[in-house]
């Protein structure tokens, strides 16, 4: 069913597991349009026309998607809430020596034994209270009624300082190296409490005491309201004091149902008959018969009748006669299936137990043991004894003294002695998977169509694919398939159980990592200044940076154009702080940089800067930037803003893993310096006015040099490098000085027409100038040879990626080359992604536009692109495939503005 409304809505919830609260809103989902007129009930009449795989076979035209929404609606798949989850969730980590999953009798016995050794114990229970089946089953432990013994255990555990007990906490997954995920549903009574808490626990030993789930019996009409599991009848009585019917029939193939029948009798219910499929009357059968209950041995329920709920059922007796019995409750027990999910997830392979007719845990792969019903120990005395012994052993294996304590003694035990009854023959729908409406006939059809592997069977019929993941249906399906194939159940196999054990809110997995907390947002030191000056921010990698600074009445594009013009004509001020900065220091620093750059750095003079390319071992360009020599053994490697972290880690990897003998220290210092870039014809005048204590004249400090000293009285490193093609000074200062120096530059700059410049204009300026932008103009295939850097192969020494550039594929002449594209018609518009039409009709394109924009200086669109054989085609006119027809463009060297690069030397 579905509970809650609006954002709080949750779907596919099991009705019996919801705690009732005042004002709870619930709707059924497994029937459409309504419970009284379920379209699936109409399907019942058509059942023989809608077999397994029907939908796959029928709704092929025009395609499945046309029909899927209607089918899913009728299939009762819930609707997700359409609003963000308003709840909060937490995540916690824990370590313990022994983690015990399940606080039934076996789990409690294990916890007591483990705790007595002094080990750190965690006991987790998915129910709100401890005790498991002992809460509602008759039975005495250590001479006390179950409930009293449970309370004693609870009190003792609560008093143990090293024990943590979590209720309403389900173990959802079992991962490598004994890591488990637990979901704790937090008591909603505290308003500030999160709705749920996801625990990640690392345990030295794990004891699985997850119990077993009763199986239904597969017979015609087993889905009629009024039919329920025998243990559920007993649990309703024990846990809630609810009698599920007035006049019941019990139908079983094992002894456990007799205990449920006795509880039902004791609570005042009347039993019309117990139908036991086993031909021989068991001791339990004889016992209850003596108290006046009719027991039909060798019989089977073959049909149920009544609308909307059960009123009568048909029983076929051993001799073949069929009798009718009036009843409003049919309690069934087809045996018990150990809850093996966690054992499976830990890597264990369950094995078939012929005597118990179910899967039981196989050999342990991780440090875990199963005890109690989940290990096939269905007798209370057995579960208690093994639980206590395993708890003591687990603590010992976790490094604590072995402290065997006497196991709790149980005087009353429920017998089992099952004889499998996988399917009762008869006409009508006999459900195997109640949630996904898979019947015994569907399994037979799948078998006829050769979907016999359990994994195929599951996907063809959808058996076990609901939110219950086959908890009640898997073993019956294995049994039925084995009968159909006339082979032992042991060879039929079992589908894997996967995380999570039960449905889990996505919000619980996300925890606090949502919204603003999903990923740390990196802001510039001057974020507030940019904001106050009208910046429009955008995300660039992890950074939030100004895209442009629109004035009143300006669009973003207009601002970009104005800012770009200011750089060309006067001076722009740009916050380049995220630019990657890595110091490389040591006697082998120059040798190392010769290996990591495609071009040589060891011959760079102190005080000079050089643009360089870094390649990966495939010869592909991964980053670019300016390298500056600070001293003989000391370099500053500049990277792109996006590459700052990645390149520093990459340099470390080469030093630690390959060139371990090189004496080099790599220090990422990106955050140690903020960067003010002044760019434009007035940049030098502005900087002089701010005040520098070193010579910044074009003669003394030409392009591609650097100097250190005071700028505006503050310590700074100033680099003459340019991204825009204009005279530029990149001023590196400590973040603590950033605000002051920026303000000084901005104030003093007013007389020189200084304009704040955002990323948009910055990118446009470099596109005009034809500079490469890694990741925009290049992709994961672009090599230096493709961008006209063939000279790197003239070097005498090795560098990362060099050998790859010699491969035939890298030397091919028809590779994509980096070129400029000059539009023939000045009115044409070009955008990134426009393909270049190929003259070869068999080929789609010859390349594409990688950077483009309207140049306010040239008054036309400018573009860069990757073009097949591009460099050999300079001068050729090509056709770009535009939105409204082809656009003619002439292939040029990159760089529409100042192609000779003269302005930067001004």
């Amino acid at each position: 069913m579905e509970i809650g409304v609006g954002a709080e809505m949750e779907t596919n919830i099991v009705a019996t597991q919801v705690t009732l609260q005042e004002g709870l809103q619930a709707r059924a989902v497994n029937c459409w349009p309504s419970v009284r007129f379920d379209i699936a009930a109409a399907n019942n009449a058509l059942a023989r026309f809608i077999p397994a795989g029907f939908y796959y076979k029928t709704f092929l035209w025009p395609n499945w998607r046309v029909y899927e929404p209607f089918i899913r609606r009728a299939a009762g798949l819930g609707r997700p809430a359409r609003h963000p989850d308003p709840n909060s969730y937490e995540m916690r980590y824990a370590h313990c020596d022994v983690l015990i999953v399940g606080a039934g009798p076996a789990g409690l016995a294990a916890a007591a034994a483990a705790a007595s050794s002094g080990a750190r114990v965690m006991l987790v229970e998915q129910d709100a209270t401890l005790g498991g089946s002992l809460r509602w089953r008759s039975g005495e432990v250590d001479g006390a009624p179950g409930a009293v013994w449970i309370e004693r255990q609870r009190t003792a555990l609560a008093a143990s300082p090293e024990v943590r007990v979590l209720t309403r906490t389900a173990a959802m997954g079992y991962f490598d190296h004994n890591a488990l995920a637990l979901l704790e549903e937090v008591d909603a009574s505290t308003a500030s409490a999160p709705r749920a808490r996801l625990w990640q626990v690392r345990a030295k030993r794990v004891v699985l005491a997850t119990g077993a789930i009763e199986r239904p019996i597969v017979f015609a009409g087993n889905d009629r309201p009024g039919v329920m599991l025998a243990s559920a009848v007993a649990q309703y009585i024990g846990d809630f004091g609810v009698l599920s019917g007035r006049r019941a029939v019990f139908f079983t193939n094992n002894d456990s149902a007799y205990a449920s029948a006795e509880a039902y009798l004791a609570a005042g219910g009347a039993i019309a008959a117990i139908v036991d499929s086993r031909p021989t009357k068991s001791e339990r059968g004889a016992g209850i018969e003596a108290s006046g209950v009719r027991v039909i041995c060798g019989g089977a329920v073959v049909a149920t009748h009544g609308r909307p709920a059960l009123s009568r059922l048909s029983v076929r007796k051993a001799g073949g006669d069929t009798i009718e019995i009036a009843a409003d409750l049919l309690a069934i027990s087809g045996g018990w299936s150990p809850t093996l999910h966690l054992h499976c997830q830990s890597g264990g392979a369950p094995r078939w137990d012929e005597g118990l007719a179910c899967l039981v845990p196989g050999a342990s792969v991780q440090s875990e043991n199963s005890v109690g019903a989940c290990a096939g120990e269905f007798l209370l005395s057995e579960a208690l004894a093994h639980g206590a012994a395993t708890g003591a052993l687990a603590a010992h294996l976790a490094g604590f003294r072995f402290a065997p304590s006497p196991a709790p003694q149980a005087i009353s035990s429920i017998g089992f002695s099952i004889e499998p009854l996988w399917r009762v023959g008869g006409r009508g729908k006999a459900f195997v998977d109640f949630q996904n409406d898979v019947t015994a006939d569907d399994l037979a059809l799948a078998q006829r169509e050769n979907f016999i592997s359990v994994e195929h069977l599951k996907r063809y019929t959808t058996l076990g694919m609901g939110t219950d993941q086959g908890k009640t249906s898997n073993v019956n399906a294995i049994g039925i398939m084995s009968e159909l194939r006339q082979q032992p159940a042991a060879v039929s196999g079992v589908t894997r159980y996967r995380f999570p054990y039960k449905p889990i809110a996505l919000g619980a997995l996300a925890g606090m990592r949502r919204g603003e907390k999903f990923k740390p947002r990196r802001r510039l030191t001057l974020h507030d200044w940019h904001q106050a000056n009208g910046a429009v921010f955008e995300e660039y990698g992890p950074w939030t940076r100004p895209a442009h600074y629109p004035r009143a009445g300006e669009t973003g594009w207009m601002a970009e154009q104005r800012e770009a013009l200011a750089v060309r004509n006067k001076v722009g001020i740009f916050d380049g702080s995220p630019l990657g900065k890595i110091e490389v220091l040591g006697p082998d620093a120059a040798k190392f940089l010769d290996l990591v750059y495609a071009n040589r750095m060891s011959n760079l003079e102190i005080g000079k800067c050089r643009y360089g390319l870094m390649l990966n071992e495939l010869g592909v360009i991964i980053d670019d930037g300016v390298c500056s020599r600070l001293a003989d053994d000391h370099f500053l490697v500049g990277t792109t803003s996006a590459g700052a972290g990645r390149i520093a880690a990459w340099l470390q990897e080469w030093l630690q893993c390959e060139w371990v003998d090189l004496e080099v220290l790599v220090a990422p210092i990106t955050q140690c310096f903020d960067v003010i870039t002044l760019s434009g014809p007035n940049a030098r005048d502005l900087l002089s006015e701010v005040g520098v204590d070193f010579d910044i004249s074009a003669k003394m400090m030409p392009h591609l040099t650097w100097s250190g000293g005071k700028v505006g009285g503050m310590n700074a490193r100033v680099f003459r490098v340019s991204y825009t093609g204009e005279v530029s000074f990149e001023i590196n200062v400590a973040p603590s000085d950033m605000s002051k120096l920026w303000h000084v530059c901005f104030e003093v700059g007013q007389q020189f027409g200084v304009t704040p410049v955002g990323i948009d204009a910055w990118s446009l300026l470099r596109t005009e100038r034809g500079f490469l932008h890694i990741g925009a103009d290049t992709d994961g295939t672009t090599t230096p040879l493709d961008i006209g850097w063939g000279r790197v192969l003239k070097r005498k020494t090795d560098f990362i990626g060099r050998r790859s550039l010699l491969r035939p594929a890298d030397q091919r002449e028809d590779r994509l080359n980096f070129v400029g594209l000059e539009l023939i018609n000045r009115e044409d518009t070009v955008r990134v992604g426009f393909p270049v039409r190929s003259k070869d009709a068999a080929k789609a394109t010859d390349g594409y536009v990688t950077s483009a924009g309207f140049s306010p200086t040239l008054k036309r669109h400018v573009a860069l692109g990757m073009l097949e054989r591009g460099r050999a085609r300079v001068g050729e006119v090509v056709a770009l495939i535009g939105d409204r027809g082809d656009i003619s463009a002439r292939v040029t060297e990159p760089g529409a503005f100042d192609p000779k690069g003269e302005r930067v030397h001004g």
Partner: protein, 94 residues
């Protein structure tokens, strides 16, 4: 979620680490004496054993040091953790 005993920081969750795959791959050289095939083997050919596998790991959100792990790919059992410069451990016959 593996529990990895970083040689510098002690046992930490796998989430703090990065695995860079097979270790002990010698970089062939000098570059002008390496055949295309030898270079291709260095770049692309990797083992995918069922059993003991030597891998390079980085304690990325920690000490940022690289080291080797010999891991059983069937069980994820970590057999040995050793330095980048140490030789590959021999697989002991059980």
């Amino acid at each position: 979620m593996l529990l990895i005993n970083c040689p510098w920081c002690g046992p930490r969750d796998e989430i703090e680490f990065r695995c860079a795959g097979q270790s002990h791959i010698a970089r062939p050289g000098p570059y002008d004496r390496v055949s295309d095939e030898e270079w291709a083997r260095y770049l692309f050919y990797r083992k995918n054993p069922k059993g003991l596998h030597s891998e390079r790991w980085l304690h990325d959100v920690g000490c940022r040091q690289w080291f080797n792990i010999a891991r059983d790919t069937r069980t994820h059992e970590i057999k040995v953790i050793y330095a980048m410069t140490d030789p590959k451990p021999e697989e002991s016959t059980p």
